[in-house]
Amino acid sequence: MKVNKLQRVFLHKVNGQDIRLTDPNENFTISDVQHFYGGTYPILTNAKITGPEIVNGEAQYRFETTMGTKG
């Protein structure tokens, strides 16, 4: 028997396009990941995390933000 650990993948939308962020480190908690990528994508610091949703053998987490929809 072979046991595969589910890969985590983090999705984040910019201008309507999904950006796939790979798992930086298996030992990171979800909020660690959020902080880690927050440096690159400041909008993430305020995001809500939904998931995991299991699609194609990977656990997809979604960063959802309502920023930038005003007006």
Binding site: V14, I19, P24, D32, F36
Partner: protein, 199 residues
């Protein structure tokens, strides 16, 4: 203490920003993400490049960080360059082609008002161009033929979709509008009948 970290980075010869994010956990494992950004690019594709992540102990990273990174960074720079050139060319083409501007203008007017009574001068230039006109006529005839055929087969929705846009053919607008109404009436009758039949 002297390091050559920045010298190494400068060998990448990139333009714009390199965002480095370094995370250290209590076991001495470092996780680093690297992403290149160029503010010049307004194409969304340029900003959706995901970061590269590299993990390892400090010693491992000291040894392998730059060798690992050289290829992906070079590829990324190439891609960014391509995007930049592409975008410039795209802008140039947009500005050069008056037909595009006219089309865009016409499209806006049509959105507001579907009666297609916009002034003829929008199409004056196209009228000069015999070849374009002939081609347009051919397309028009083809589309009309298809629409008629589809209407005969009682595929009214498809027929409506096939019908040329009156906005593109101002001269035939009246014919087109009439045809559209015709098909629509047939469609309604057909829908009603199907409804009754299903009941």
């Amino acid at each position: 203490m002297k390091t050559n970290f920045f010298e190494q980075i400068s060998t990448f010869a990139f333009e714009g920003n390199m965002l480095l994010n370094i995370h250290n956990d209590n076991k001495g494992q470092l996780t680093v993400s690297v992403v290149l950004r160029n503010g010049e690019i307004s194409a969304t594709a340029g900003n959706t490049l995901p970061p590269m992540t590299i993990g390892g102990t400090a010693t491992e990273l000291d040894e392998a960080f730059f060798t690992e990174l050289t290829t992906p960074v070079k590829q990324t720079i190439g891609l960014i360059h391509n995007l930049e050139t592409y975008q410039k060319e795209l802008d140039k083409a947009k500005n050069k082609n008056p037909q595009n501007i006219k089309k865009a203008k016409a499209a806006i007017e049509i959105d507001e008002d579907n009666d297609s009574d916009e002034p003829d001068d929008l199409f004056a230039r196209q009228a000069d161009d015999k070849q374009a006109k002939a081609e347009k006529k051919r397309l028009y005839d083809e589309a009309m033929e298809k629409a008629k055929e589809l209407a005969k087969q009682m595929k009214y929705t498809e027929a409506l979709a096939q019908l040329p846009d009156p906005a593109e053919y101002p001269e035939q607008a009246e014919v087109l509008n009439k045809k559209r109404r015709e098909i629509q009436t047939s469609k309604e009758t057909y829908d009603k009948l199907t409804q009754q039949f299903n009941d």
